[in-house]
């Protein structure tokens, strides 16, 4: 049996004796990592943060992009009722099937008697795709840049209901009257 010979490739790296001695390059690498360690350690010691990490549930970043798809809101009419007509289009288009709507009938409202009695979103499964916003014919559901603040050890606590979704109340809203 022939002894194993390592194949030679045309693009094999050519190293100078300095690199091939290994030791000097190791020292260079250690200098880089050691410098970063000392720099970050000095930051930690002097009470600053030596890492880029945002420590999520305790710390929140203020700089979400304006177009970020965060938590949902239900747009309100002038009288404070939801603009939603419980047509179930958002629940139908939702790929993760997280929206649950229970429609109800309000005879006192002549224009839009159908309204959601229950409108719930399960954020433990939501994929934040924004398809519900696009599907809505009434512009009743939108997404804010802020993320829903729901970290929990129990996925049953990651639901938002109609009360929480209806708390968005800007003065100058382009919603239909």
């Amino acid at each position: 049996m022939k002894p194993y010979a390592r194949p030679r490739y045309w693009n094999e790296p050519r190293m100078s004796w300095y690199e091939r001695a290994y030791f000097f390059e190791v020292v260079r690498g250690l200098r880089i990592t050691g410098r970063i360690f000392l720099r970050n350690m000095w930051k930690w010691i002097t009470g600053r943060k030596g890492a880029l990490t945002t420590y999520y549930p305790e710390e929140k970043r203020p700089d979400y992009a304006p177009a970020n798809r965060g938590k949902h809101i239900l747009v309100q009419r002038a009288d404070g009722k939801p603009q939603c007509i419980a047509c179930n289009l958002c629940a139908t288009v939702c790929p993760a099937k997280v929206i649950e709507i229970e429609a109800a009938f309000d005879p006192s409202d002549e224009k839009r008697p159908k309204y959601p009695a229950r409108f719930e979103i399960d954020y433990s499964r939501c994929v934040f795709c924004g398809l519900c916003v696009e599907a809505c014919p009434e512009d009743a559901i939108r997404m804010l840049p802020e993320v829903p603040n729901l970290p929990s050890f129990d996925r049953d606590r990651m639901w938002l209901g109609k009360d929480e979704l209806l708390n968005w109340n800007p003065r100058d809203d382009g919603a239909k009257r």
């Binding site: 290994y22 190791v26 250690l30 990592t33 050691g34 970063i36 360690f37 930690w44 890492a51 990490t53």
Partner: protein, 380 residues
């Protein structure tokens, strides 16, 4: 052995074992945190202890992760493979773990202890006896270290072979050849120091390092033999099977190498032995190359500076020496962790070629040059 000796020795043993186990636990935390800080991260800090009946969660910089790990190891299923050799399988972790602890028996972690001066009330009982702060006062200290260091190889081979698993066997073979190769290099690098000091008694070696070279440099091993210091550290890390020499474990190829079939606290013992060995390597490097438990220009009596010796009282001297030793060990451990998180792994042929074709001739050259220089100095 009389009662006083027994008492002091027991206290020293308790101190040494406590220090080693603490180092083994703390180093898991140090390793995590240092790796995180080196790579711009925060590091593990989610394990907490909640004060009962309140919502106050104590995080303590992530120190509780070690406790959580220990708890996990204890509560895990103790899996046993269908192997032919249950005895060797059970013995494996212990044969790896115990020699690592035993090595520390000959390392001096402090200077002369005079219990009579430390506790004046007991001065009469101790009758002026003094002790070196070292568990076993052997004049063959270095040899004992290599003897015990050799036993760890048997542990790795035993556990790998008795696991009845191909990955384990491969890992064990790799561990065996690697550790034997680097042990040769390690012994050769130290021989230069032994030539210079003419002794293998570790306490004697530390005391010799209180001297001076060229009247101003402390006569530390790293000053006398800088080359040997680098070679020794490399060989010691390879002996400990850590990255960049972690071929026996190589989780991407061999799952976990020779301890693939171990789980729960048996696997924990391997990990613990590895972390304690970091501390042991640190202690050895400190003792041989960094002047042991003494600060520069300091010996058992106090500081020796240009104007004459400055004596220190005994009750300051003992804690200073203990503390200095621990600090130096921690610094070397931290440097080892820096290496572990900086360098990529060798290929296996590179690993053995590095030992036999690079480190071995260099260690030999270092020894030869040392011998010739010493011979010339004796002639002059």
């Amino acid at each position: 052995m009389i009662l006083q000796d027994l008492l002091v020795t027991l206290i020293l043993i308790g101190y040494a074992v406590g220090v080693l186990l603490t180092f083994g636990t703390i180093l898991t935390w140090v390793e995590r945190k240092q790796a995180a800080i080196m790579s711009d991260r925060i590091g593990a800090n989610r394990a907490y202890v909640r004060i009962p009946f309140t919502d106050v969660k104590l995080v303590a910089l992530g120190l509780f992760h070690g406790m959580a790990d220990g708890l996990k190891m204890m509560l895990k299923e103790d899996f046993r493979p269908k192997t032919y050799d249950q005895l060797a399988y059970t013995l494996g972790p212990w044969v790896t773990f115990v020699p690592v602890l035993l090595v520390f028996a000959v390392i001096p972690f402090g200077g002369v202890l005079d219990p009579g001066r430390l506790v004046p009330a007991a001065a009469g009982w101790f009758e002026g006896r003094t002790y070196t702060m070292q568990i076993a006062k052997l004049d063959a200290g270095l040899l004992v270290i290599f003897a015990f260091g050799g036993i760890t190889i048997i542990g790795a081979m035993l556990s790998g072979w008795s696991s009845n698993n191909k990955f384990s066997l491969l890992g064990a073979l790799r561990a065996g050849s690697q550790m034997i190769s680097y042990e040769v290099v390690m012994a050769l690098t130290i021989l230069g120091l032994v030539l210079i000091w003419g002794t293998v008694d570790l306490n004697e070696i530390v005391q010799r390092q209180s001297g001076r070279v060229f009247h101003f440099l402390p006569a530390w091993g790293i000053v006398l033999q800088p080359f040997a210091a680098v070679l020794f550290l490399v060989a010691a890390i390879a002996e400990n099977k850590r990255i960049p020499f972690d071929l026996p474990e190589a989780e991407s190829e061999l799952i976990a190498g020779y301890y693939t079939e171990y789980s729960a606290m048996k696997m924990g013992l391997f990990m613990f032995a590895e972390f304690i060995e970091i501390a042991i390597v640190g202690a050895l490097f400190t003792t041989l190359f960094l002047g042991g438990y003494n600060l520069p220009y300091m010996d058992d009596g106090g500081f020796i500076l240009g104007g004459g010796p400055i004596g220190l009282p005994h009750w300051i001297m003992v804690p200073t020496q203990l503390g200095v030793f621990l600090l130096k060990v921690l610094a070397v451990c931290s440097f080892q962790i820096l290496i572990r998180w900086s360098l990529p792994r060798f290929r296996y042929d590179q690993l053995l070629a590095f030992a036999w074709k690079f480190m071995f001739p260099l260690a030999f050259a270092n020894l030869a040059v040392t011998a010739i220089v010493l011979w010339l100095m004796e002639r002059a």
